[in-house]
Structure formats: structure tokens, C-alpha cells
């Protein structure tokens, strides 16, 4: 990776050590949501890595989505995605946003998630274990850290 100087290294370090999550339930069965919340409990304690769950999407860096995107949640999902300030990353928690899972083919489903917004990291599982979620978020933060310009922040 190209070295841009002290300030860039400081920003990269700060981004790796401080990530604010915003959690969006796009029609999930609550299984993945419970597993995500359990990451904050004393057993897994993601706050030691500076990860914090935020109430407002304006504060967040990491957009955590669970659930196959249902018809009713598609418009709010797109709106909330636009409300996150750049640079941001999207983490899809569970099998539903990745593939549609058991709801695949249903007329009520608009997903999978990557047909609607760009996804950086998938954490498969139904639901995934908390350690897998922590690992996925860590990978997402690592991806976020080196996005310095508008060009490199563009997501595929």
C-alpha cells in the first residue's frame, strides 16, 4: 500500500480503532439481531476494539444489515444507506442478505442485498456465531481504513 505520510497513517489507525455501527433490520427474523447484540455483552465485548452501536445513521461508519430485503424495507434501506456519511462499509449479517436464504424466490423479497446497495463483507450463517460477526466487522473496518479519496471510496 502507498504511504501518504503521517496524517494518513494516523487516520488509518483511528479508523481501525474506532468504528461506529448502525444496525438495520431488513425483515430479519431477529436471530441475527440477537447474535449482533450479544457481541456487545461482556462475553464478546467488541467495545474493547472501539466498536460502538450508534443510534443515528449520521454517526456511523459501518452499515450492518440483517434480513432478506422485503418489499416494505427496500425504500427505508436505500434512504438510510444514503444517510451514512462517506467513507462507509456495508456488512451483510446472515444468509438472508447474502442469498435470500429460505425466502429465495418469494415474491415478497426484493433481495439479495447486493442487488440494492453495494456490500463489502458477507457473514454467512443462520444465524452466524458472534465470533464470526466480530471477524466480519473487523474485516470491514480494515477495508474502510484505507479509503482516503472519493475515488477509492467508490464501491463496486
Amino acid at each position: 500500500m502507498k504511504d501518504y505520510g503521517f496524517l494518513y497513517r494516523l487516520v488509518e489507525r483511528a479508523r481501525e480503532r474506532s468504528a461506529f455501527l448502525f444496525h438495520f433490520n431488513a425483515g430479519a427474523c431477529n436471530g441475527c439481531d440477537i447474535e449482533l447484540i450479544s457481541c456487545l455483552t461482556p462475553r464478546y465485548d467488541v467495545e474493547q476494539y472501539g466498536i460502538k452501536l450508534e443510534g443515528s445513521p449520521r454517526h456511523a461508519d459501518v452499515f450492518v444489515v440483517s434480513g432478506p430485503v422485503t418489499r416494505a424495507t427496500r425504500a427505508p434501506l436505500e434512504a438510510v444507506y444514503k444517510q451514512l456519511p462517506d467513507p462507509k462499509v456495508v456488512v451483510a449479517i446472515g444468509s438472508c442478505p447474502a442469498t435470500g436464504n429460505v425466502f429465495w424466490g418469494s415474491p415478497m423479497i426484493e433481495g439479495p442485498l447486493d442487488q440494492i446497495i453495494p456490500v463489502d463483507i458477507y457473514v454467512p450463517g443462520c444465524p452466524p456465531r458472534p465470533m464470526a460477526i466480530v471477524e466480519g466487522i473487523a474485516a470491514a473496518i480494515h477495508k474502510l481504513a484505507s479509503r482516503h479519496s472519493a475515488a477509492s471510496g467508490e464501491q463496486v
Binding site: E47, Q48, L53, E54, G55, R58
Partner: protein, 304 residues
Amino acid sequence: MNLAQAVAALLIFPGLLYAVPMGWLMLGTERKLRARFQGRIGPPLTQPFYDVVKLIAKWPLPRAAGERALLALFPLLSIGAMIGAAALLPVFRGESGFAGDIILLVGLLEIPPVCMVLAGYASRSIYGEVGANREAALDISCNIPFFTALIAMAASANSLRTTTIAFATPWQVRLLAVLAILICLPVKLRLNPFSISNAEQEVLAGPLVEADGRLLALWELCEALEWVVLIGFVVTIGIPGRSGEWWIDAILFGACSLGLVLLLTLVASATARLKLRQATRLLWRCSFVLAAISLCAAFLFRGN
């Protein structure tokens, strides 16, 4: 207070150069201790610093220039007021201040809550407005005991100089007044039993719901300074004596402030969030009663 002393107080101690790192240390200590009390490991003490750096490095949202200026004005005004208030704290014995500086100090302390209420309404989000509403109601109900306790101290010391109030208030008045102010402290810092206006999941983030990147960084800086100034204010008017050696006074001031952070964190992690009505009732039944008794005591022990 000559010009050089005033500039040093504003920029070095207890102003900018001391208050910003100390504020981050206080916020970091609070998060670390709360995590430890809950049986977690918790973030490192440098966490608030990294949070601010990361928030500054975020790209600004597209906004109209006037709106951006208005939203940035509120935190900048609060930060300026807090640095000015820090400079007025009577940390050393030699500082004489000027007549009426307690009124200026209290006025400056009131600027951040007012700015936060205005920012909440300026965000034009329903959550911001509810948060601003709660903040305004709480601020008014906690200021009544806060001001009553300060009036009691000023009346018994027979002065409006902060230094004289800090040194000359008799202990009978000081004990009750400082207790009343201590109950108001978590309200002013929006800490747990009174974290009503910035409740994360109820009203998203309250008045700061629309604050992105740099705006949120400014607000976090303002919060850090608020911690230093409000806790420093309670420490300086709560302790009657000064050693006279400037470095002992400075170290004692910092150490007592951190001790108070420990106490506040203990209360914050042991309690759950109250409703607005319960919080107002608690303030009136505990804090205001103490402040009123200290006001009565002030007239009994006046001129001792």
C-alpha cells in the same frame, strides 16, 4: 489578574492545553471504568482521541452553506464558552479574579445546553426536537437547585468573586450546597440516570441526530471540555484550602477531578435511565431540598 496570567489561564492551564487532553482522559476513563464495572475489558484510554480523529477524517455531507454554518456555529460557540469558563476556575490561591466573575462563569456554563437545544431544533428531525425538548426541561429543572446552592454560597461568603466564594464559605453551608450541586452534576453531563436527552435507542441520539463527521467531532470535543469545566468547578468550589505551591494545587486539581469521574461512573453504571418526570421529581426532592436548607444555613451563618 494581569494580562499575561489571563492569557496563560486561557491557553495553558486550566484552559486549552490542559482541558482538551484532560477531557479526553476523563471520557476515556469513564468508558473504561464503566466497562470494568460491567465485567468487560473496555476500550483503551485513548479511545476518545481516536474517535475524534476518525470523525474529522469523514467527508462532509452535501448541505446548504447557510445550514452548515448554522449547525457548526453551535458547537464552536460552546467550545469557546467552555474554554473561557475553564480560565475562570479558581485553581490557585493567588488568583483574585474580579467582582462578579461567578455570574460570568455560570453564564458561560449555561451556553452548551442552550446551544444543544438550539442545535436539536435546527436539525429539523423529530428525534432532534424531542431530544432538545427533554434537554431544555432537564436543564431548567436542574438549574433551580444549582443556582440556589450557588446563591447560598455567595450569600454566606458575602461576595460575588469565585475565589472568595471558594475560600470563605463556612463549612455548614458548603457541605449542603456542594451536595446539591453534586446531584446536578450527572444531569449537566447527561450521564446515566439522567441520560434522557441523548438516549441512544429511544430518541436515536437526541439533539445530535443530524450531526455527521466533523460536526459530531466538534460536539465530542465540547463534551470533553464540559466534563473538565463542570467537574473542575465542583472541585474548586468544594475544596476550601489551597497549598499555595502552584504545582501541588494543579496536581491536586487534576487528581480530584479524576476522583469525581470515578464517582460519577460508579453512579452511572449502577443506575438505569429515569423518565423525565422521575428525574425532575428526584431533582426537586433531593437536590432542591438540600440547596434550600443550605440557603437557610447561609443566612444563619452569615458573616462568620
